[in-house]
């Protein structure tokens, strides 16, 4: 059967961010390439076409071309993606220009290649290996299928760095441990063979840049190409931390205060929430709330200290009580 090869070609307009470490002026350099590729091409295919036929100096990294190795994370039209998994037609359905940049929150080595050194430093912070409390006298450790199935979400991580690239917290705070490391930490907290669960939770709860610094913005959930959903894992770590008695943090007090006020009135008590999150006796932090509070008061929009209950609130309270009784 004959195929008209020409008709399967499509026009692609690429705008690529360039960076040459030896040329500081290249920091703001963008280059455009207009090429023809097969209509089923991925963005990686298009970039390789550029490197092979248009500009051999373009640096990019890839290996498996099958979204397994995690080498080709890049920003496409502003969002981190594995370019081997992203079809041109998906990001440019009507022939729009495709903007390709290196991933964010990773130091750039050259053009589209980033260093993953800081990424692996984050991963190392969570001691990413099973730490059992004993060595079996013979044979291997046995874990049930059911207990391991639960870990599959996080074990799917291929360390591509996409979640870190688009993390909004890392953009303002490079001490944040990051979504990939926290999803990895969750995997060991949940592992039935690990004996360090409480130490791990305490460490993640207590450290600066730990579990409570995530803003729940869901960028990591949106960009993860493997369904790890790091933020959901962070939420589970928070739940485990609170349930294990780690309640003396701003984050845990914040969650407990919201829980208390919805149980009491059906709504969030905006007057008490800031104070209870800081802790009633944390004078320094409470003083910090005064100025913004005063500004709100002057504009007569400060929440009332009198917190009214919703109608039929007893029904909501009963739901809370049932959950507490069945814990």
């Amino acid at each position: 059967m004959g195929t008209n090869k020409e008709s399967l070609l499509m026009n692609v307009n690429l705008k690529v961010k360039r960076f040459d470490p030896e040329d500081p002026e290249s920091q703001t350099l963008w280059q455009e390439y207009k090429i023809d590729v097969h209509q089923d091409s991925t963005v990686l295919d298009a970039l390789i076409h550029v490197r092979e036929h248009e500009d051999t100096s373009l640096a990019l990294r890839c290996a498996c071309r099958a979204s397994i190795c995690g080498s080709c994370g890049m920003k496409v039209n502003g969002s981190a993606k594995l370019v081997c998994k992203t079809r041109v037609t998906e990001v440019s359905p009507n022939g729009e220009q495709i903007v390709v940049e290196p991933m964010g929150n990773h130091p750039v080595v050259k053009d589209l290649v980033v260093s993953l050194d800081t990424f692996f430093d984050q991963i190392k912070r969570v001691e990413p290996y099973v730490q059992p409390d004993h060595v079996p006298e013979k044979g291997e450790y046995i874990a049930s299928n059911e207990s391991m199935e639960n870990l599959l979400t996080s074990m799917n991580c291929i360390m591509c760095g996409c979640c870190v690239s688009d993390c909004t917290v890392l953009e303002v705070d490079d001490n944040f441990i990051g979504p990939a490391a926290l999803a990895k930490a969750w995997r060991f907290v949940e592992d039935p063979r690990d004996s360090k669960t409480s130490d791990r939770l305490k460490n993640l709860n207590d450290q600066d840049g730990g579990i409570w610094d995530c803003t729940r913005c869901m960028q990591c959930v949106e960009v993860c190409p493997k369904g790890v959903d790091p933020m959901d894992r962070i939420m589970e770590l928070r739940e485990s931390a609170i349930n294990s008695g780690l309640t003396n943090s701003f984050g845990a007090r914040h969650a407990n205060s919201v829980n208390k006020s919805i149980k009491h009135s059906g709504r969030i008590d905006e007057f008490r929430l800031p104070i209870e999150s800081k802790g009633y006796f944390n004078i320094k932090e409470i003083l910090g709330l005064l100025l913004p509070g005063l500004r709100m008061l002057i504009k007569k929009r400060s929440p009332s200290p009198i917190h009214h209950k919703n109608p039929n609130q007893s029904k909501v309270k009963n739901i809370f009580k049932n959950f507490e009784d069945n814990k």
Binding site: D173, D213, T215, V258, I319
Partner: protein, 296 residues
């Protein structure tokens, strides 16, 4: 068009101007808001309760959906965070029948059951998808020409896009820009428009939260924005009330007014600024109002 109205906690608390402007604008749009059916509805948990107990959060949202179902009306919210938390809960409830059954057991004592028919909708989406841009334009008495506005969606009304049904409703990703253009103003695009405002960690790590405010407001301002418009009252609280702190990190006043979506519509529809409490903002809206020839 009649909706079971779910205003959320913040529009009845720290952002009363959102509530008042919504009422005024909905009157003009012919949207009837039914307060009664959702009066005993609880907070969605705001994503915070879910940190402590996800299933409890889903149960409260299922109860709210059951109340809306009982009214026979579609569910309308004016808070992006409520929208996001409700959409996520709904996705979990509808994906797993067994889970929904378990949760319905909790609602039984109140005689409620969630059948799975609710599709919660933010006013922003209703405007674009149900009211329509043409109808909106027909209600405009003063085009806001010359006003340059930066859209700020925040997180919960754009992510996760699957639970928010962006594929089925592609205009959701540009809805705010469509409205800005419909009222005659100019869109100032900037990369932070779908990023986090920092509010969820304001009480946990204020430094990071304030730095996010500083980055977004100063970038929008530098791009030429006269004001920023948002469909989220929580983003508003952080971007407006903590902008003085954000200015300190930049060592210069940012002074970018942050307005709620209904306030923007109201200005174009000729509703008096004081009726929409535009004088209650922390960052003054005076300069912005004089730009469009409206006396504050």
């Amino acid at each position: 068009m009649k909706f079971a109205f779910y205003p959320g906690c913040v529009s009845r608390g720290a952002c009363p101007e959102l509530f008042d402007s919504t009422i005024a604008v909905c009157e003009k749009l012919g949207i009837e808001l039914d307060y009664k059916s959702m009066e005993s509805a609880s907070c969605t948990g705001s994503g915070i309760l879910q940190e402590k107990n996800l299933k409890l959060g889903d149960t409260l949202n299922a109860r709210n959906f059951a109340l809306a179902e009982k009214s026979g009306l579609p569910l309308l919210t004016i808070c992006s965070t409520c929208q996001g938390v409700m959409s996520q809960a709904n996705a979990r409830l509808l994906a797993d029948k067994e889970y929904l059954n378990e949760i319905n057991q909790e609602l039984k004592t109140e005689g409620l059951e969630y059948k799975g028919t609710i599709d919660p909708k933010h006013l922003l989406w209703v405007l674009v998808e149900d009211i329509g841009i043409d109808k909106l334009k027909s209600l405009i008495v003063q085009k806001l020409e010359g006003l340059k506005l930066a859209p700020f969606y925040g997180c919960y009304i754009v992510r996760p896009s699957a639970a928010l049904k962006f594929q089925e409703n592609p205009r959701r990703s540009t809805s705010l820009e469509e409205i800005i253009e419909a009222v005659g103003a100019t869109v100032v695009d900037f990369p932070g428009k779908t990023q986090c405002c920092g509010f969820p960690i304001l009480m946990i790590n204020q430094k990071n939260a304030v730095n996010m405010v500083a980055n977004h407001t100063s970038t929008a301002k530098n791009e030429g924005a006269d004001a920023m418009v948002t469909p989220c009252p929580l983003c508003h609280l952080n971007l407006d009330a903590y902008q003085p702190e954000a200015s300190k990190t930049k060592n210069e006043p940012i002074n970018l007014p942050i307005i709620h979506l209904p306030q923007l519509l109201g200005l174009a529809m000729g509703i008096a600024p004081e009726k929409m409490k535009l004088n209650k903002h922390i960052i003054s809206t005076k300069t912005m109002l004089s730009e469009i020839g409206v006396s504050p």
